[in-house]
């Protein structure tokens, strides 16, 4: 009798819990401080001033100084706090602080003109001095800026020289068409603030940043949020929103709930959660290309030596089907475009019409049989908990089993994985999944595919590829340069150095209360290129 009783209580408790979570949305009687529950659809498309936007981010910003920011959150906040010189979208330049950028006839000098009347958030003038100061500090070895490598061409630094208050000349040691891509990453920092700091990275002045962007720093509560407020003297016109707050929430499930509760207005969502969020009808779901390639890597350093053989790599590729892989890893073709070239679609000279080894089981069997891979076991390393990686590994395991090759999946934590992945000595695995975002200039890819480079994770070596990358880096003629990179894309694809899977997309959920998304330009990593254009409807 007593046992029976406790059974009933457990049941009662469980039903309580279950009804608690299946309760209908109808009883949302008093939305106390949750501001957004019933988004009123007054589509007054005229931008309105005022309003506060909350963007969900996954972590505290590491450092709000563009010379050091490398993490997503810092980069995202810096985009609103500091204005860039210019940005590039689909090969077209949009100028921000800069007015123009012109190369000289010999392509060894670039002249940058700044807009006139620019100011920092504290009212000081922003001039050529600040730009030169920023470049000097990037180049200063004592300052640990991670951008330094980009300003060194074949061991020689690029020099920045002030001509007058709004003009800077960049002197290159040799012709480098990739220079514009380098300059895109530069965001001036204020000289008058950091001039006398011995170690800018450790300076407490980074805690109250002074920028030049549409929003200025207001408040940072560690572990909670960063709030920026409108900068009325922004050169691009007064921003519409009063404030933007970046709210820190590390747990994906909890922050998805907060999004639905109106405590967050904009955040990244995983493909797996997109449908649930969309079903609420309160959000506009924006998918856009991240300029990122997700690929399967063949480790040519593996101690079995199998991956060094081009035919083995081709054979393994033949066993797979790209569309299926995308379905498995990203749940829908909406969230990833099939990839064939190692250059992402936003990159210059991108060409997806290259050789591909795909979806031909007979050819796979033939090539693998011929090279003695059938019956062998390949080791596939993945980061445990990374859903896309795990799904890809399981799919590949299944597909290769069909052609007689065993795959042993080794799951490890993130730091162990990145140790193995980046250490050039690692020889105890054959397959893994990687991804990269390299920017729009194809010269950036040379570090991934040239012989002996630190970031050549596949350990691929082909003298022809090395030569082509070198030619491409120094070729000023656009047509000739295009030919070189087309050839490179074909060579690397034909050699099956990697198995390109997809150009992945970012999904951002935006509360329908907010508009101006197209004008603000959705951008990989930082979400919006120019947040001054966002407004509350």
């Amino acid at each position: 009798m007593r046992k029976y009783f406790s059974g009933v209580v457990i049941l009662a408790l469980l039903t309580m819990l279950v009804t608690a979570c299946s309760g209908d949305a109808g009883n949302s009687a008093a939305p106390s401080d949750a501001s957004s529950s019933g988004s009123s659809q007054t589509t007054g498309d005229q931008p309105k001033d005022g309003g506060n936007l909350i963007i969900g981010v996954q972590a505290d910003p590491v450092i709000l100084n563009p010379n050091y920011a490398g993490d997503r959150v810092s980069l995202t906040i810096d985009q609103a706090l500091y204005a860039p010189l210019f940005q590039v979208n689909n090969g077209k330049k949009t100028f921000y602080l800069a007015d123009s950028l012109e190369p000289s006839a010999d392509n060894l000098t670039y002249t940058l003109k700044l807009k006139s009347g620019l100011t920092w958030h504290d009212g000081e003038k922003l001039t050529a001095d600040d730009v030169v100061f920023t470049i000097d500090k990037i180049l200063d070895e004592k300052q640990n800026s991670m951008l330094r490598g980009n300003f060194i061409i074949h061991g020689k630094p690029i020099k920045a020289v002030k001509v007058d208050d709004t003009t800077v000349e960049f002197k290159l040691p040799q012709v480098s068409p990739a220079f514009e891509a380098t300059l895109v990453q530069v965001t001036p920092i204020p000289k008058h603030i950091f001039e006398h700091e011995a170690d800018i990275e450790k300076s407490p002045k980074n805690n109250t940043p002074v920028g030049s962007g549409p929003f200025k720093f207001k408040e940072y509560k560690t572990g909670e949020y960063v709030t920026l407020e409108r900068f009325d003297n922004y050169f691009g016109g007064k921003p519409h929103l009063d404030t933007i707050t970046y709210r820190i929430s590390k747990d994906a499930n909890a922050s998805n709930l907060a999004l639905q509760n109106g405590e967050i207005n904009i955040k990244y969502v995983d493909p797996q959660d997109a449908a649930t969020i969309e079903a609420t009808g309160n959000f506009e779901m924006k998918n856009y290309s991240e300029g990122r390639l997700a690929y399967m890597l063949f480790n040519e350093n593996s101690d079995t030596g199998l991956m060094k053989n081009k035919e083995v790599r081709q054979g393994l590729s033949y066993a797979l089907n790209r569309e299926e892989l995308i379905q498995v890893a990203y749940t829908s073709p909406d969230y990833a475009d099939p990839a064939k070239s190692f250059v992402t679609p936003d990159g210059l000279y991108h060409d997806n019409n290259v050789t591909t080894y795909d979806n031909d089981v007979e050819k796979a069997k033939e090539l693998l049989q011929k090279n003695g891979v059938v019956g062998k076991t390949l080791r596939f390393i993945v980061t445990s908990g990374n859903k896309a990686q795990e799904a890809i590994a399981l799919y590949v395991q299944q597909k290769l089993k069909d052609v007689g090759v065993n795959v042993e999946i080794q799951s490890m934590d993130a730091s162990a994985f990145s140790d193995k992945f980046t250490n050039p000595e690692t020889s105890d695995y054959e397959l893994t999944v990687g991804g990269y975002i390299m920017g729009f200039d194809p010269d950036a890819y040379s570090i991934l595919y040239t012989t002996g480079s630190d970031s050549n994770y596949a350990h691929y070596s082909n003298p022809e590829v090395d030569k082509l990358f070198q030619e491409g880096a120094g070729e000023a003629d656009t047509a000739k340069r295009g030919e070189i990179y087309k050839k490179l894309q074909e060579t690397i694809a034909a050699d099956a150095v990697i198995y390109p899977i997809a150009y992945t997309k970012t999904i951002v959920a935006v509360d329908k209360k907010f508009g101006g998304l197209d004008e603000a330009v959705l951008k990989p990593v930082v979400i919006f290129e120019d947040p001054s254009k966002l407004y509350q409807k």
């Binding site: 505290d60 991670m146 509560k221 949020y225 709210r247 509760n261 405590e263």
Partner: protein, 316 residues
Amino acid sequence: MKRLIVRRLLQTVPMLFFVSIVCFILVKAAPGDPVRSFITPNMHAEDIERVRHNLGLDKPAYIQYFIWLKNCLTGNFGYSLVNHKPVMGQILERLPATAGLMGSAIALAVILAIPLGLVAGANRNRWVDKLVNMIAYIGISLPLFWLAILLMYFFSIKMHWLPSMGMRTIGVNSALDVIRHGILPCVVLAIGFLTVYVRYIRSSTISQLKEDYVQIQYAFGSAKRIILFRHVLKHVVLPVITLVGMSMGDLVAGAIVTETVFSWPGIGSLGMTAVRGMDYPVIMGITLFSSVLLILGNLLADILYGIVDPRIKTTR
């Protein structure tokens, strides 16, 4: 009593030393490299080496340890390898959030656990006991992150009674606002503590009820309620003191899971970030800080023991 305190305080020194060594070895033995958080694929090998050198990470591990130890003795707990802010500053900045949350959770748990445990113990194997036991079992078995999400879904999303995340409404600085934000995480944590406390108090009540003094009270015809709350209670509180003393470490170490789910800006989430980034100065700082508190908490528990139960004082 004074001698006891001094002796115990002296004992903490080698203990902390030992803790710091073990912690350092564990961090260094784990896979991963703190320099990785600085490097981008575009960095050249010499740049990476330069960063490593500037951070002092190119020296042998034991030298790194002694440098760290030397700095600690001069009150400098180092800088985070990731964001370069002083470690002690970061811990102290987050301490109020964690201490407030954990303190109120422990207090709530104790306040609820004492009557529940007493009543359950006094009614052993009766339905009240069964019910309390069962709730305790469910509480122990429930994954707290799941319970947290469930409560959040019900009280924030469905009913709109409480905010779901953070410690404050943006831009608002009032104690009431912080309390509103703290209710859900506090309840979740309290359930975690409560279930353990209740079990202790229940068994201690059962054993006390067999003692002679209780039998005598019964013989004198005292009411059960009076025996329980006037006499047994005093003895039952003893294990609670130990338990709370042992929870002192948690007061500063924070609750990683609960803090993460509720975006509570405490030391737990700081610690998790540090572990992910192999940020050893921060990891060491948090470990040492919570070890000190744990040791002090135990000491405090011993002293309180002496006050509550004079028999213990004389035996030492």
